[in-house]
Amino acid sequence: MEQGMSPYSDFFRRAGTGLLFLFLLAPLAAVIVVSVNAGTTPKFPPEGFSLKWYGTALSNPAFTGSAFNSLLLAALATAVGTPLGVAAAFGIARGRLPSAVRGLLEAVFLSPLIVPGIVIGVALLVALSSAGLRDAWLRLILGHVLLVLPYVIRTTLASLQNFDPALEEAAHTLGASRFKTLTQVTLPVLRPAIMAGAIFGFIISFDDAAVSIFLIDSSTSTLPLAIMSYMQYNFDPSVAAISSMLIGLTLAGALAIERVFGLKKFLGS
């Protein structure tokens, strides 16, 4: 099939593939190359090798403070969103509901994926302001739980639908209580799916700018927004250094998902 199927001759196919890969990788490679540039502007080709921009980025309080906020926010949102999502997935998959109700519930629970992030941010800002709630952390946590929720539900639901009921029946037959079956059999089987959803939710929350941009205030910002506002007035390679660190972090998360669940399966589901 390999030779027979290619729509072009081998040379053009390779050249075309190379160009496509270049398109995909060029901005990422550019960021990493510029981050180790010794010069003061993001010149290309770089003027020598240096890690000084990593030092500059890490000693910029605007980056470190907001990075701490982003990590804390993503962790809190994942900690709240994961149990909420797992419970909802159980209710949908095991609730013995009419299929129309199930479909509706699934659609509602996955709707945060369809509603544009900027709409989620604006709607929360307006609703909470009219309720008199103006705390940035409260707004951010509510908005980010919303971001995490659908990913956890999607992976958990997929795993529950493939769940072999014989496992639980066997546990029950062997005398395990319902609670013990849940904690010793069902949840361990579901763990990879729950983990994948939670990790992806964490990354989405950590990387979000569209929802947060309306929910931060002058004293509380997140890392993507701090970088965005820094970029408006500065173009020095410290942004490249912090971006490279973010690339490393997301790559680590993606590898974790790949190990526990399979990335393609996850993104394709």
């Binding site: 099939m1 390999e2 027979g4 199927m5 729509p7 075309g16 593939t17 496509l20 398109f23 995909l24 990788l25 060029a26 901005p27 990422l28 550019a30 960021v31 510029v34 993001p42 419970a87 909802a88 209710g91 609730g95 013995r96 509901l97 509602v108 945060p112 369809i114 509603v115 544009p116 992030g117 900027i118 709409v119 604006v122 709607a123 800002l125 307006v126 302001s129 739980v145 919303l146 929720l149 009921p165 014989a166 029946e169 029950h172 037959t173 569209a210 309306f214 993507p224 965005m228 173009f235 942004v239 490249a240 971006s243 490279s244 973010l246 690339i247 997301t250 393609k264 993104l267 394709g268």
Partner: protein, 301 residues
């Protein structure tokens, strides 16, 4: 399910009662979604029907469609809608072409190379949006890599401006949405028996004919879901247009930001939000309905 339970339980262990329905477990999530998403969005949509007033987010005032009339009567406002549609449309078409090519590359790759190629195709998704945009600034800027390359080759005499134009927005969007498209198409390609295109070629079909007459028709479901996802993600994207297109990128989402963060005319801004949501829903339902019809047609053929 309950019946299999009964059958599996051995006679001596006593009949296994079906556990109580855990449907109530959806309640906490439902309550959360209602108060954090449905109610706020509904409130905002209602607000769009109140007279425009800077800074007002309460429900005071009479019901009116004045905000909508204002939006559709002034070119400055409704041009954002038109621009959003054509930028998203062009993005979707280009993404489909590139995504199809990449899906074919993955599909025809040797199994040993497949993992690496999938990783490269997914790489734009795995990178923070600000990092990606900064990378494009380095590549596409006035003194960026692309301009230096073209100047060096003598193809252009002075740098061409790419950043802060619609072209930059489209490049940025295509780059990040290609993985979705490629994966959707690949899912359909993987269902095709590799013997089918081979048989066609044995009988003298050209490569182009194999592509247009066999592969594309058989991948309509994947292509349709890819188009749906990419178009709806494009119209609702905010960060890429804001960073790559500059403050006056003229898209609906950047205009929404202006209304809510700068002009503070929240009630008029609510019109834009309602239109964006309506557009997203319209696109999703239209393309899904179309896909269902196409699938039915192809499966009959």
């Amino acid at each position: 399910m309950a019946i299999t339970d009964m059958e599996v339980a051995p006679a001596g262990s006593g009949a296994l009662k079906p556990p109580p329905s855990p449907a109530w477990l959806v309640l906490p999530g439902m309550v959360f979604l209602f108060f954090v998403l449905l109610l706020p969005v509904g409130w905002l949509m209602a607000l769009s029907l109140k007279p425009s007033m800077a800074g007002a987010f309460s429900m005071e005032g009479d019901w009116t469609i004045a905000n909508y009339l204002r939006f559709f009567s002034q070119p400055f406002y409704y041009s954002t809608l038109i621009k959003t549609l054509w930028v998203s449309g062009l993005t979707t078409v280009i993404t489909a072409v590139i995504g199809y090519a990449l899906a074919l590359v993955i599909w025809t790759a040797k199994p040993a190379h497949r993992g690496w190629i999938v990783l490269i195709v997914l790489s734009p998704l795995l990178v923070s949006i600000v990092a990606r945009t900064y990378g494009w600034m380095i590549v596409l800027g006035d003194r960026g890599i692309l301009n230096q390359f073209l100047l060096g080759l003598g193809l252009i005499d002075e740098p061409i401006q790419i950043m802060y134009t619609s072209a930059a927005v489209i490049v940025g969007l295509v780059h990040v949405f290609v993985p979705f498209m490629a994966l959707c198409i690949l899912t359909s390609l993987d269902k095709i028996d590799p013997n089918v295109p081979e048989a066609a070629m044995t009988f003298g079909a050209g490569r182009l004919a194999v592509l247009t007459r066999i592969l594309v028709p058989l991948t309509v479901p994947g292509l349709a879901s890819g188009l749906t996802i990419v178009f709806s993600l494009s119209i609702s994207s905010y960060v890429t247009p804001a960073l790559m297109g500059g403050p006056r990128s003229g898209m609906l989402t950047t205009f929404i930001y202006q209304q809510f963060a700068v002009t503070l005319d929240w009630r008029f801004g609510a019109v834009l939000v309602t239109l964006l949501l309506a557009l997203t829903l319209l696109v999703l339902t239209t393309i899904l309905a179309l896909a269902a019809r196409m699938t039915a047609k192809w499966s009959k053929a």
